[in-house]
Symmetry: C2
Subunit: 152 residues, 2 copies
């Protein structure tokens, strides 16, 4: 088998194949997503096919907005083919739920901003600006709780 020469690639080629930056690969290595690769005599990292697959997996996860820690978890699961995949489903479900929460709060934020923008549809003096006036308004926290522990 003449594989030990052809299949070995350097970091730049791996980066190109998967479409990430070289520094990102070294970062993933440092974070433990990628194993420490073999080195050529001059110290260059060398990678194989399996590393390309693994890096692609990582990138797909990241493209789906998953956190590094989640990906570590998925990578570990991927290496235990006999286990049940329920944990994968749970992780994805949780991720979707987080996304939905984030979407809802951004949606609400946008509504408030559009409303705020409506306070000053015209061009005029800063002193008359409804947006700045609104942003300077009262705060809820002051009305809710009684007093700090420093009371007589």
């Amino acid at each position: 088998m003449a594989k030990d020469r052809k299949d070995l690639i350097k970091i730049g080629e791996l980066a190109h194949l998967v479409g990430v930056q070289v520094v990102t690969i070294r970062y993933y290595e440092k974070e433990g997503l990628l194993d420490k690769p073999q080195r050529t005599p001059n110290g260059y990292r060398t990678y194989r096919r399996t590393d390309v697959d693994r890096l692609r997996f990582i990138r797909h996860c990241r493209d789906h907005g998953m956190a590094i820690e989640d990906i570590k978890f998925l990578l570990k699961l991927r290496e235990a083919p006999e286990k049940d995949c329920m944990e994968v489903n749970t992780l994805v479900d949780d991720h979707i739920k987080r996304l939905e929460e984030q979407l809802a709060s951004l949606q609400a934020l946008k509504s408030r901003l559009v409303e705020l923008r409506g306070k000053c549809p015209h061009s005029g003096a800063i002193s008359d600006c409804g947006i700045l006036r609104d942003l300077g308004g009262q705060c809820r926290a002051a009305l809710e709780s009684p007093a700090p522990t420093t009371q007589s």
Copy 2:
């Protein structure tokens, strides 16, 4: 309790009034959102009414998802009442536009995740998990661009 004037408060009381943490106030000071306050002989920060208003303004902006740098800009505008408020409107418009982009990309991400989740609606062996299989699929970058400069 009658110190110099009754409207001089310490950092903890300011934090309580506005509903932020003490450390956050010091952070805002370091970032230049709040002026360096006067100090008591023992080195404690003392604040006045205007500081309460200013901090409230800052918090309202942050609650609307604005960046510190944007808030600095608004604070500066707020102190020039004779100027035109067009820049305020522009800033808010830009902010809304950014939010809309973010919403769109999160929405798309969620769709992809829901689709991904559909690949494995059941419980079973990791080796059969459609989610992991999908995440391990081919990547676009490999097909798009030709080859790195290190071509034979």
